[in-house]
């Protein structure tokens, strides 16, 4: 899959998330300038709350794992794997994301690596 140019760095909000649309799917993009890598992309749809809101959650870490807390019912989703920390078998898709200069590039993770890919 090809990298797609989604937006630029200044569209992002440091320490927080924004939503983007890629091939009709909603992606939550998180920009954590202090982290390496600084960009994370997971599905914007909260499978528990049933609404497209994960980009609007608070990011942080739980036992060292980078997470976003759903603004609806506060479950935590891993920014790396998309897995829900509170409920087994619940997860959201993950995208590969990188910065090229100020360009934000995105591509789907191979299905085999994605927990929701099956």
């Amino acid at each position: 899959m090809q990298w797609q140019h989604i937006c630029t760095r200044e569209d992002l909000v440091a320490g927080s998330g924004v939503a983007a649309l890629i091939n009709g799917e909603q992606v939550a993009l998180f920009y954590l300038p202090d982290q390496s890598p600084p960009l994370y992309a997971i599905g914007n749809h909260d499978p528990i709350g049933g609404a497209n809101v994960l980009s609007r959650g608070i990011v942080g870490d739980v036992n060292g794992e980078l997470v976003v807390a759903s603004p609806l019912y506060k479950q935590h989703f891993s920014l790396l794997t998309g897995a829900c920390l509170e409920q087994d078998h619940v997860s959201v898709p993950v995208w590969e994301v990188k910065l090229d200069g100020d360009k934000v590039l995105l591509r789907p993770l191979p299905a085999a690596l994605n927990r929701t890919g099956t």
Binding site: I6, C7, D11, L12, V13, A14, G15, S16, V18, A19, A20, L21, I22, Q26, L29, L32, Q35, H45, G49, G50, A51, N52, V53, R56, G57, I58, V59, G60, D61, V62, N63, G64, L66, V67, A69, P71, L72, K74, H76
Partner: protein
């Protein structure tokens, strides 16, 4: 042949005769099982008030009113659709027609009937016992009669030196009478205590000025010379008195059982089986009127157990009453008395250990089994500290320590008290509500994290309260085992409580989350600590919350200055101070709502909530609202919400002050204050209290002379009446106190702790809060006021600031790379307004589109 008569129906009319503590407990248990109950409940009460806490009747001689003792007001019965007939005694049960008939002529059919008629005080048939100054001690009305009679009396005698007799004697003492107790047995409390215990109790009670006469048999009551009455005894000098209170035991109130030919015990009591069923399968009896296994249980806890048994049977569930532990602990005239199990050592082969301290007035007796392995019972006078431990040893059959005497020896060289950890899961902690240690741990697992939560969830320690200390230790141990109590840390990133962190931030002059975390925390932070720190920073500095260093800390509601709803859209609540709004502004709200097709609803805080706004619509909506003179309502923040008001003296015939004016003033004064949780105010213009100020964090009620201030009330999940804090305040005094209370709360409360819970957990409670706020015992009043001044000076309408900043507005779009709205947000119309489509409707909608 049918056996219809022996099969209990599972629905229909349930009649409960008697509305004492046990009868009430049955109603409560049934009601709490939910709306699904198939029974229509009718309660008949002989007294003219709903069930009250008879156990604490003597509190009426302190500063309590009958209303304080009320278990559930009449309104509660109405709310739960239970018909309560007060002051209308049932006089006849017609078993053939399954009907009860009252003195007032009411006839009520029943499918199931429960007798909870309790007991009546036994008055020995002494000639003269029916004199009008001869009274009993059982009901609120009895107490009123005692009070009336005591008004003209100098000396009073209580006949009966048992538990209730001593309670009654204390009542006479508190009424200022020279008090005597006449007991037939050679000692006080002969049922619970032995001779040594009785003698010690006597000494303590006599030290309070109460005269004790034991071994006295009253033969005749006739007219006295110095006093109204004269009591004549067998072989003793007579005693004159102005009034007599009989408290010589109770008898089961079984007259209806007798009238309707139910099987009774030889010495009274309605015979019941393990399901509390009488000889008529459609009729049950519970509490002190019921005779189980030839025993009457004269304590409230076994009565409650019977009530729960019947509730289960009525709901077609298994229920078994198999007797009850009669251990008891109480304070009689300041003397602690406890009796556990077989305190009198009547079990064959029982051995005793005794400890007596005549100087301190303490007596403890431990009764153990013949093999010295188990506790059979215990007796405690003067000090009940060991009660909980000994009771648990006895109830749970816990093996005795090597040196059993250590259980009753003075602390110091004694064995350590039985910790909560040592109790088995099945150990009953609260016998009134039958709550086991296991149930408490389940509640802790279920999310309870304080003593208050546990009381709410399990009802433990809300009956007689005797288990309070034990419950606390079980809860503390349970929390500790779950890593909660020992650690009131905010979260894994900060090893401080919110209060500690507040102090560190204030003293260190820290201004950003990064500074706070680098100095006092670790990791990146999370959705717990980030908003908490943001709130602390806001209440100290009151910066614009969407500054780049703050924006990532806020909950989504704060980030987008609106309230997220279940479908990811937002609701918008502009400030309408005190609920006063011009027709023009009202029309603006209508116009904006109509333009953006927003669901519109009036809130409980006298504002208007506009629902269903998408992210990208929020700035457009607010531009129009700000143009029309609205400002943000902070409905999205943990902050001051609204000041509700009644119309006050400007219009109302009854109002004594301008409540609307005061409410507007207060709302503008405190708007924008960020706090541990939301804050609601109300101002009422007179004592009719139409603004419901007593259910608010800050409540103000007008008086002829100014304002009364109420604090820390709450509606919602756990209602709490606000406490009256100060009276007849001037405007200036009022805001000074409110400034201080609010800032003290902001500084010291836990994260997400409402003022009501904060006050309940504040050591020293309301008195302490008064000392800090009114008397300034901590010397911080000026500082609190100054801090409030800073917050007020730095107030800004966050929406105005946001609208004026194109950079901030960039966040208000559904996607960074597309102008389209979120296609998954779908509405359907109901009652002429939009609402989120349900899952089902949503798939229908999509299908329609795809066809």
């Amino acid at each position: 042949m049918t056996d219809d008569n022996t099969v209990l129906p599972t629905s229909g009319n349930l009649v409960i005769i008697g509305n004492g503590m046990v009868g009430h407990h049955l109603v409560k248990t049934l009601v709490e099982q939910g709306d699904a109950s198939p029974w229509t409940i009718h309660v008949f009460a002989g007294e003219n008030r709903p069930a009250y806490d008879r156990v604490h009747l003597s509190a009426l001689f302190d500063d309590q009113t009958p209303e304080d003792l009320c278990l559930s007001p009449a309104q509660w019965y109405r709310d739960n659709r239970v018909t309560l007939h007060l002051n209308d005694e049932v006089v006849e049960i017609d078993r053939d027609h399954k009907t009860v008939i009252t003195a007032g002529g009411v006839r009520q059919d029943y499918d199931a009937l429960v007798l909870a008629t309790g007991s009546y005080p036994f008055v020995p048939p002494i000639p003269g016992h029916d004199h009008e100054n001869c009274l009993v001690y059982r009901t609120v009305d009895d107490l009123d009669a005692i009070k009336r009679c005591a008004g003209n009396a100098k000396r009073g005698v209580v006949v009966g030196g048992g538990l209730l007799g001593l309670e009654a004697a204390n009542a006479l003492r508190l009424l200022g009478l020279e008090t005597h107790v006449v007991e037939f047995a050679p000692q006080l409390m002969p049922v619970q205590l032995d001779e040594t215990g009785g003698a010690l109790l006597r000494k303590e009670v006599e030290a309070l000025g109460v005269h004790i006469h034991t071994g006295m048999k009253t033969e005749l009551i006739d007219a006295g010379e110095q006093h109204t009455l004269r009591m004549n005894f067998e072989g003793q000098a007579p005693l004159e008195t102005d009034m007599i209170v009989f408290s010589a035991g109770i008898r089961p109130q079984d007259s209806l059982g007798r009238q309707s030919s139910l099987e009774l015990g030889e010495r009274g009591g309605i015979v019941v089986d393990n399901q509390c069923r009488t000889s008529d399968p459609a009729i049950f009896a519970i509490g002190e009127c019921a005779l189980w296994n030839n025993q009457i249980f004269g304590l409230v806890a076994p009565g409650y157990t019977m009530a729960r048994t019947v509730a289960a049977v009525l709901n077609n569930q298994a229920g078994d009453f198999t007797g009850a532990d009669m251990s008891t602990k109480l304070k009689l005239m300041g003397v602690d008395v406890g009796s556990v199990g077989d305190a009198q050592a009547r079990t064959a082969g029982a051995r005793c250990y005794r400890f007596q301290d005549e100087v301190a007035g303490v007596y403890r007796k431990l009764v153990v089994s013949e093999d010295q392995k188990y506790v059979l019972g215990a007796m405690l006078v003067g000090d009940c500290d060991a009660y909980d431990t000994l009771l648990q040893y006895m109830l749970n059959g816990i093996p005795l320590p090597d040196n059993p005497a250590s259980l009753i020896l003075p602390a110091g060289d004694a064995a350590p008290a039985l910790g909560a950890d040592a109790l088995p899961d099945g150990a009953t902690i609260c016998s009134c509500h039958n709550v086991s240690k296991g149930a408490i741990n389940d509640a802790l697992d279920g999310g309870c994290c304080s003593l208050g939560d546990i009381k709410d969830a399990t009802k433990a320690s809300t009956g007689c309260g005797g288990c309070a200390a034990l419950l606390k230790s079980v809860v503390d141990a349970g929390l500790e085992a779950r890593g909660v109590e020992v650690n009131n840390h905010l979260c894994e990133h900060f090893e401080y409580s919110r209060q500690e962190l507040y102090h560190l931030i204030l003293v260190g002059g820290l201004k950003s989350f990064r500074e706070v975390r680098d100095t006092h925390g670790k990791g990146l932070g999370c959705d717990i600590c980030k908003p908490a720190v943001a709130s602390i920073l806001a209440s100290i500095h009151n910066d614009y919350i969407l500054e780049p260093e703050h924006v990532g800390l806020q909950d989504t509601n704060d980030v987008f200055l609106a309230n997220m709803q279940k479908d990811g859209t937002y609701s918008v609540v502009p400030r309408v101070p005190a609920g006063e709004i011009t027709p023009e502004k009202l029309m603006t709200l209508g116009r904006v709502a109509s333009k953006y097709d927003l669901y519109t609803k009036i809130t409980g805080g006298q504002r208007i909530d506009l629902f269903g706004a998408r992210l990208e619509q929020l700035p457009l909506i607010w531009e129009e609202l700000i143009d029309a003179g609205f400002e943000t309502g902070h409905a999205y923040g943990k902050s001051v919400r609204t000041v509700k008001s009644c119309v006050g003296s400007t219009w109302c015939r009854y109002g004594v002050q301008d409540s609307v004016g005061m409410a507007i003033f207060l709302e503008h004064r405190y708007k924008g204050l960020r706090s541990p949780h939301k804050l609601k105010f109300a101002v009422s213009g007179c004592t009719r209290e139409c603004a419901e100020a007593q259910s608010k964090d800050i409540g103000v009620i007008a008086t002829e002379n100014g304002w009364n201030l109420y604090v820390c009330g709450n509606g919602g999940m756990r209602p709490r009446h606000a406490d009256l804090f100060a009276t007849d305040l001037s405007d200036q005094q009022l805001v000074q106190l409110v400034d201080r209370v609010l800032m003290f709360y902001v500084r010291t409360a836990d994260r997400l702790q409402r003022t009501s819970v904060w006050l309940e957990n504040l050591e020293g409670g309301l008195d302490y809060l008064r000392q800090v706020v009114i008397d300034d015992t901590l010397g911080i009043a000026a500082e609190l006021e100054a801090q409030m001044e800073v917050v007020r000076e730095r107030y800004q309408c966050e929406w105005r600031t946001t609208i004026d900043d194109p950079q901030k507005l960039k966040r208000f779009r559904s996607f960074v790379n597309a102008e389209t709205p979120d296609q998954d947000i779908r509405f359907v119309r109901e009652r002429g307004q939009p609402r989120p489509a349900t899952e089902e409707e949503r798939s229908d909608l999509i299908e329609t589109v795809s066809v």
